[in-house]
Amino acid sequence: MIEFQAVTKEYPDGTVAVDNLDLTVEDGKITVFVGPSGCGKTTSLRMINRMIDPTGGTILLDGKDIRESDPPLLRRGIGYVIQHAGLFPHRTVLDNVATVPLLTGAGKRAARTKAAELMELVGLPAQFAKRYPAQLSGGQQQRVGVARALAADPPVLLMDEPFSAVDPIVRDDLQQQLLRLQSELDKTIVFVTHDIDEAIKLGDRVAVFRVGGRLAQYDTPSALLARPADEFVSSFVGRDRGYRALGFLTASGVPVGPVATVKIGEPVGAVDGGWAVAIDTDGRPLGWVAADRMSTKDLAVSEGDLISGGSLFEVDSTASGTAGSLRNALDAALSSPAAIGIAVDGDGAVVGGVTADTVLSALADARRSGEVPT
């Protein structure tokens, strides 16, 4: 547990980066510090491992004042992931990951064995071990950064905008991986970001900071979206927060209707409603076929007839994030050219379709049953 007690950081020029912060970070949870630039979120994070020392107040780590610890020793017990990964360019990937075990006195061999395990854990192929950071992509470097932070198995992990410099698809990948790792490792994670979507996706608890280093609201993501404490928070969480809040509601109550399917190379035949989903031999969706727009319904469907589009709605999802939520279902319906969201099972095979209407009525049901916080 990390406790901020009336913590203030004031610079000699009078700038107040953090103003009287009271906050408790719970064990085994992801706590996200989010806010615009200059709100003191990174300063607050860096005070935990004494990269920055507060000018007032106290920070307790597991009940112990961190000022009593020697900074380098304190830091070896706290994992730290930095933006752009901050890998050591002159060391191989394996040696980068082995850094902290080596610092804490593990033998070279033990440290490297540990590092190899960590590389596997974060999904880095073993042949990357001997490469240098410059030979890796940004996303791969960030994985190495996470592996390095975890190598000494610290109970606490600090992450300072770790995924902000990678492209959106890679970022999504890294976020999923973090959630997966966290479900296995149960670390106490403090994560700093300026991206409210990332905060809501990853956080068990989210602390919204405002400029001037004051805490605006500290709550669960769903409560933050449903009940923003004030004008600032509601404008910061954004206009489409109603839509994003759907990400916290399960779509298990949404009825999945039938949807016409056709295999590539087979004729469409008569299709009610004019649209059919083209599937591969494993039943996975390839795209849509507008049956009534094909010259003859007896002609075999080819790849060239397909209209792509539409996100997929994962039924009974075990994946983390918003998969299997009302948001996922609604987005599938809205983004589909046929106005029918394709529902797929865990293997990615088509099981049916959902429409926006059915999703909205499921939302209405959830509201009536009090599942939606108001």
């Binding site: 491992n49 990269m51 380098p72 020793l73 304190l74 830091r75 070896r76 730290y80 930095i82 933006q83 752009h84 990964a85 901050g86 890998l87 050591f88 360019p89 002159h90 060391r91 850094t99 902290v100 610092l103 804490t104 490469r131 240098y132 410059a134 030979q135 890796l136 992509s137 940004g138 950064g145 390095r148 932070a149 600090l158 492209d167």
Partner: protein
């Protein structure tokens, strides 16, 4: 001037040439090494504190503009060394090396990415350990580049010492000039150039061997 077929003269004087070459290397390389060792802390200081940089870097620039002959004749007066003490040549050479390298070391350390030093601090390096194992190794390519310039210029500057009687191969140049011996003159010049090139190539090679990571970067390019 008399330039004969060099073999007879060369054969007769191989021992002297060898001695002069050894002396030349000793006169030139020791000060470069000393200069390097002094430049690292000075360069570190000027990379760390703006005030130090504001004083040391311009001072180094000024030192480098002092004519070598002036410095070589001044040093015995200032240090009270005897007139044929090798230090009279070596101290000026060390000063020139420092003048060249302080800036290189300082620039190289400043070029170490901020997130790398921040990450090193955050994983628990103590400052001195971090300097030796993270910052200094990353500064090596730039320092080697500076060192190559320093070594080559030390090789030729050493010859100036011949004017005060301590010159290594420079001694052969002045002697050849006085005795109207073109062969001696040319051999000495060629040896100085060749040795300078060989040491330059060695430094280049050593630099490549100890920084495999910098070539890894060039080979594949930094991907986004």
């Amino acid at each position: 001037m008399n330039i004969d077929w060099p073999w007879p003269w060369l054969e007769r004087n191989l021992d002297d040439i060898g001695t002069a070459t050894g002396e030349h290397l000793y006169l030139a390389l020791l000060p470069v090494l000393a200069g390097l060792l002094i430049s690292v802390p000075l360069g570190w200081a000027s990379s760390r504190w703006g005030v130090a940089r504001g004083i040391l870097v311009p001072l180094a620039g000024v030192l480098y503009t002092i004519p070598s002959l002036a410095l070589i004749t001044l040093v015995p007066l200032l240090m009270g060394t005897r007139i044929i003490d090798p230090l009279n040549v070596q101290v000026p050479l060390a000063i020139y090396t420092i003048a060249l390298l302080v800036r290189s070391v300082s620039d190289a350390l400043l070029a170490v990415p901020g997130e790398v030093t921040a990450a090193a601090t955050a994983v628990g390096y103590r400052p001195f350990h971090r300097f030796l194992t993270v910052e200094l190794p990353l500064a090596v390519p730039v320092i080697i580049a500076g060192l190559r310039v320093a070594v080559v210029s030390a090789m030729s500057l050493t010859s100036v010492g011949a004017l005060v009687g301590i010159g290594g191969l420079g001694g052969l140049i002045t002697e050849g000039f006085l005795r109207n011996n073109g062969v001696e003159l040319v051999v000495a010049i060629i040896l100085i150039v060749v040795i300078a090139l060989v040491i330059d190539a060695l430094l280049l090679l050593v630099g490549r061997v100890i920084t495999p990571w910098s070539r890894a970067q060039q080979r594949t390019g930094a991907k986004a």
